[in-house]
Symmetry: C2
Subunit: 325 residues, 2 copies
């Protein structure tokens, strides 16, 4: 067996994406050493390259990997996905099972922890979840963004048959639409791209081309545009006493006319990472259509090209695949 000591990693600094060779990381106690199978490029990764969070290092937080070393021997050889927040385990948030908000958290490939665009990387054993039987790597790599979509259902009491407008037909909007539809909601996906809306339609979601947006029509709106105009548009679509779930993060301030928020008593709910258990259950149920969301696959060694493809308008998910060893 060829015991390589070095590995290939993607390294981002000052807007440049490079490939580097590095020593394999050593796993701390309670952590697992993971060998990448496939990773996904997320909009956050594109923002990191643009300098969001002053990032420098190896990004990547959507992945499927194989456990190669672990304190718990039964983990070794398992095919896993993983929660990306590495929390202290000890504070009020961690005790409330909300390590996603632990103030001392590090976040895989985002803050304080080298990410998954790397042949090997590490995560605490408690962050790992087995990929269910019958779920392919190409489906399981969506566990993290599907969890982010599931987070909505953790945060608000969405009635099973509620009518929900999802604004934005990018990757997250397409996932949110499917997740909420699988919950029973009557989803209308509002977007700008006929070909993306067609993906949602194939899953039974109603769609509408963004032109003149409806005013005050929906009790539930999910803002997943990725645009700084999205919030004001979503608020305009909400009925009095309606709820707008806010998924978009953009750098800097956005404009918001608060008068309709106050006068119509609209609730805005910021929503970020979610729990993996319901996401994996959904993946196992095979109710989601994910294959259609993949716009391209590249080897890890082609990362710069893969990032360029991911940044192109109209691209959905770009995957990075580790070389077979």
């Amino acid at each position: 067996m060829n015991q390589e000591k070095s590995m290939l990693v993607v390294y981002v600094e000052g807007g440049r994406i490079e490939l580097r060779r590095r020593a394999r990381p050593r796993k701390p106690k309670g952590w697992a050493l993971l060998k990448l199978r496939v990773a996904g490029i997320c909009n956050t990764d594109l923002e990191l390259v643009r300098g969001y969070y002053g990032f420098r290092g190896t990004p990547g937080h959507e992945f499927v990997a194989e456990v190669v070393e672990a304190d718990s021997p039964q983990l070794v050889g398992r095919r896993v996905v993983g929660e990306i927040n590495v929390a202290c385990g000890d504070c009020e948030w961690c005790r409330r099972d909300l390590g996603r908000h632990c103030p001392r958290r590090r976040v895989l490939g985002i803050a304080g922890l080298d990410g998954a665009f790397s042949e090997y990387f590490t995560l605490p054993e408690r962050n790992l979840h087995d990929v269910p039987e019958g779920v392919t790597d190409e489906e399981a790599v969506f566990a993290e963004p599907v969890a982010a979509a599931c987070e909505i259902l953790e945060q608000v009491a969405l009635p099973r048959d509620a009518e929900v407008a999802v604004l934005g037909d990018g990757k997250l909007g397409l996932l949110v639409a499917q997740v909420l539809a699988s919950h029973g909601a009557r989803v209308v996906l509002w977007g700008r791209h006929r070909e993306k809306l067609a993906i949602a339609e194939a899953t039974g979601v109603r769609t509408a081309l963004v032109g003149r947006l409806p005013r005050a029509r929906y009790d539930w709106v999910v803002e997943a545009t990725g645009s700084r105009l999205g919030l004001e548009q979503a608020v305009g679509m909400a009925r009095p006493r309606g709820t707008v779930i806010v998924k978009t993060t953009v750098k800097g301030a956005v404009r918001l006319d608060t008068a309709p928020v106050v006068v119509n008593e609209i609730t805005l709910v910021g929503s970020r990472c979610g729990p993996f258990e319901p996401a994996l259950a959904l993946l196992a149920s095979r109710k989601l259509r994910l294959r259609e969301l993949i716009s391209g696959e590249y080897g890890l060694e082609e990362a710069p090209r893969a990032f360029r493809a991911a940044a192109r308008r109209g691209t959905l998910k770009i995957l990075l695949r580790a070389a077979a060893s």
Copy 2:
């Protein structure tokens, strides 16, 4: 008995405040003719003078009046306050007892309906509430803004002993602080004016001078600054998964960095008018200190001077009193 046919009204147009004489209004069927006792000038009235809502007419929506004509004979002679939204009574919102959001509503002294800064005015009988025994006019005139403060407790499930930061020591902030404290909340009122904070302290509310605002400290924050900077400040004070109740309406857009809203999963709840029943029960309980909120009293015929006083920095509530007939 001197059957006057004309009456004195305050009239606002193009930034000017005038006194006019007019014919007394005739009450429609199901409505009552009201004779003003005392009215309060609210920040919204000042905004109306500045051209908010393109307003032209007679403002005034905080009042105590005597019923002089009504279809229900038992109402005549009663001392009443009144809900300001005149709803259609027939739509989905009205059926849900949320006429405050009826899309066809008119609003006393704000939209489509002459207001209370007038010797006589009209409202539907169903909008009226008796002033409880022992509650003075000078207390009852606060029924509408106290109801707006009570609205917070209708909208969110605030735990009885929750720690709540109220940001803004103006009239509304002082009322919100007292109302939430009477609910059992541990309120900290953050403001800029020592003399206003002293009013809150006299009611047992803790206070803090706004200097360096605390970051991510409170699970509950009420934004009642009246300033376009208030929302971003309030969001900064909220802990992860915290709730910010938004009371301020300002003309035009405000800046909001949505990243902390999304990353910390903060909920923003727009909050406007509230129910009169709990407000009147609170007034009757005599738990609130309202007298200290009155900065001055003027006769209705002195309205232009009263408005100038109300607009002065540091002024709290200015009352307009009808001449005794």
